[in-house]
């Protein structure tokens, strides 16, 4: 009982200190609530004054910053791989991708998900932070139905939702960036800070692009993206077999393809297949491959 009494005293004491400290904050908070629906300059200053949590990891990267990193990564991917311009196909891949994204763990990003087909014969799919997603013509040629493509797009959306791309940026770079950004009070950066930030930005894009195109993610991220891929496509209503069926096709691909694209940057298709099968078994979904979906897949990917 005595212990409980001491605890009560401690809690009451803590509460008192906290209340003293929080009055002005709550006032400012209500000011925000009572506003006209926009952040006014005084609201902004109030929040800036009262919020002291500092940034230290990839999870502190804001939505808008992720968008700019994603744009840069996408621009570098597109410098290496030309876009396959086919309006019918591009619209189909985008609509399919949006159908899956809507049922993902992160349906909204700063500027939304956008998909492009790359004019490359290698079997590859990539996702830049923020939701810029690429699939190659080579990959599309290997898919035989909509479930498979939906599963590949869902895997890439999984990388975006779990922020795997941002996690490939070196921690020291982020700490440097946060320091420079935090010191800047004015609206625009001065020349020195801008040049420091640009160098860090350049390094960060390099970290992500190298991971996407050369090194590949840590395999645990790929398995996670596979699991998320199955989960999201099943949530959208696709047959759960899409991913394992596609991986089965990859297992059978040999020869010169082996050192390129997904084969170079991903764990072996056989390893992934085993795990994907167990993910499908636990998904417990009964949806079947639907003829109407397979037909529109064939119609839209004709000649790819």
């Amino acid at each position: 009982m005595r212990a409980a009494g001491r605890l009560a005293q401690a809690a009451a004491g803590l509460l008192a200190v906290w209340l003293l400290a929080s009055c002005s904050v709550v006032e400012k908070g209500t000011g925000v609530l009572a506003g006209a629906g926009k952040i006014s300059e005084s609201d902004r200053q109030a929040i800036v004054k009262t919020s002291s949590a500092v940034r230290s990891t990839f999870s502190d990267i804001t939505e808008e910053e992720e968008y700019y990193i994603g744009r840069g990564v996408a621009a570098l991917v597109l410098a290496q791989f030309p876009v396959y311009h086919n309006d019918v196909l591009t619209r189909y891949v985008n609509t399919l991708g949006q159908s899956v994204a809507a049922f993902s763990g992160r349906p909204e990003t700063y500027a939304g998900y956008h998909f492009a087909v790359l004019d490359s014969g290698e079997i590859n799919a990539l996702a830049a932070p923020g939701g810029f997603i690429f699939v190659t013509r080579g990959l599309l040629r290997r898919c035989t139905n909509e479930e498979m493509l939906a599963a590949v797009l869902a895997h890439e959306i999984g990388h975006v939702a779990a922020k795997h791309g941002l996690q490939s940026i070196k921690k020291s770079r982020l700490i440097d960036a946060f320091k420079v950004i935090g010191q800047q009070a004015a609206e625009r950066y001065g020349p020195e800070q801008l040049s420091q930030l640009t160098a860090i930005f350049e390094g960060a894009l390099g970290d992500v692009v190298d991971t996407l195109i050369l090194r590949g993610y840590d395999r645990k991220y790929e398995y996670e993206a596979d699991e998320l891929g199955v989960k999201y496509s099943v949530a959208a209503g696709f047959a759960p077999r899409g991913l394992p069926d596609f991986l089965k096709i990859l297992v059978g691909v040999g020869g010169t393809e082996q050192g390129k694209g997904w084969f170079k940057t991903h764990p072996s298709a056989a390893d992934r297949l085993e795990r994907a099968n167990s993910a499908v078994a636990t998904a417990g979904a009964a949806a079947k491959v639907l003829a109407a979906r397979t037909q529109r897949f064939q119609r839209n990917t004709k000649g790819v």
Partner: protein, 162 residues
């Protein structure tokens, strides 16, 4: 047993104030989105929202959808991935030491890696293909098109349809 009452009261108050201090004000963190009539991505839109707009939480669902009220009084649904909960750090009141900015400050001020940094990067990297990136951004799938696609493919709400 008597001593339990102040303990419970203190903890209760603490919980109450924690809730109040972290008042459920949500800030839109994506560039643009919609306040929707129902908790889904297709169907009727109540009004357009943009980055920085403030919303008051009404209720939330385990699937990630939150019912909110705008400052103008409009009620609708938004997905949790589009908003940040505005938190106030109580320990910082009174001018505590602070040499860095928090994520919410940076987001509100549009600082960090932003357009200015991209422009500076682009000036040095003419090879980076930003033109194609901008082209990707132009393609938008309207809610009605998404709905039609899902209906036709027996997906989402139409799964298992005959």
């Amino acid at each position: 047993m008597k001593q339990r009452i102040p303990l419970i009261a203190a903890l209760g108050l603490l919980a109450l104030f924690a809730t109040l201090a972290l008042a459920e004000t949500l800030i839109v963190k994506v560039q643009s989105t919609n306040l929707r009539k129902t908790p889904k991505f297709y169907g009727a839109v109540v009004q357009a929202l943009k980055s920085g707009d403030k919303l008051e939480k009404v209720t939330s669902q385990p699937d990630g959808w939150i019912q909110v009220k705008t400052a103008g009084g409009a009620v609708g649904w938004i997905h949790t991935s589009a908003v940040d909960v505005q938190k106030f750090n109580l320990l910082a009141v009174g001018g505590g030491l602070k040499t860095q900015a928090s994520a919410s400050e940076v987001a509100l001020a549009g600082k960090g890696f932003n357009k200015q940094v991209e422009e500076s990067y682009r000036a040095k990297h003419k090879d980076a293909n930003f033109a194609e990136v901008d082209r990707m951004l132009l393609l938008k799938v309207a809610a009605a098109q998404l709905e039609e696609f899902m209906k036709q493919g027996h997906l989402g709400d139409w799964r298992g349809a005959k």
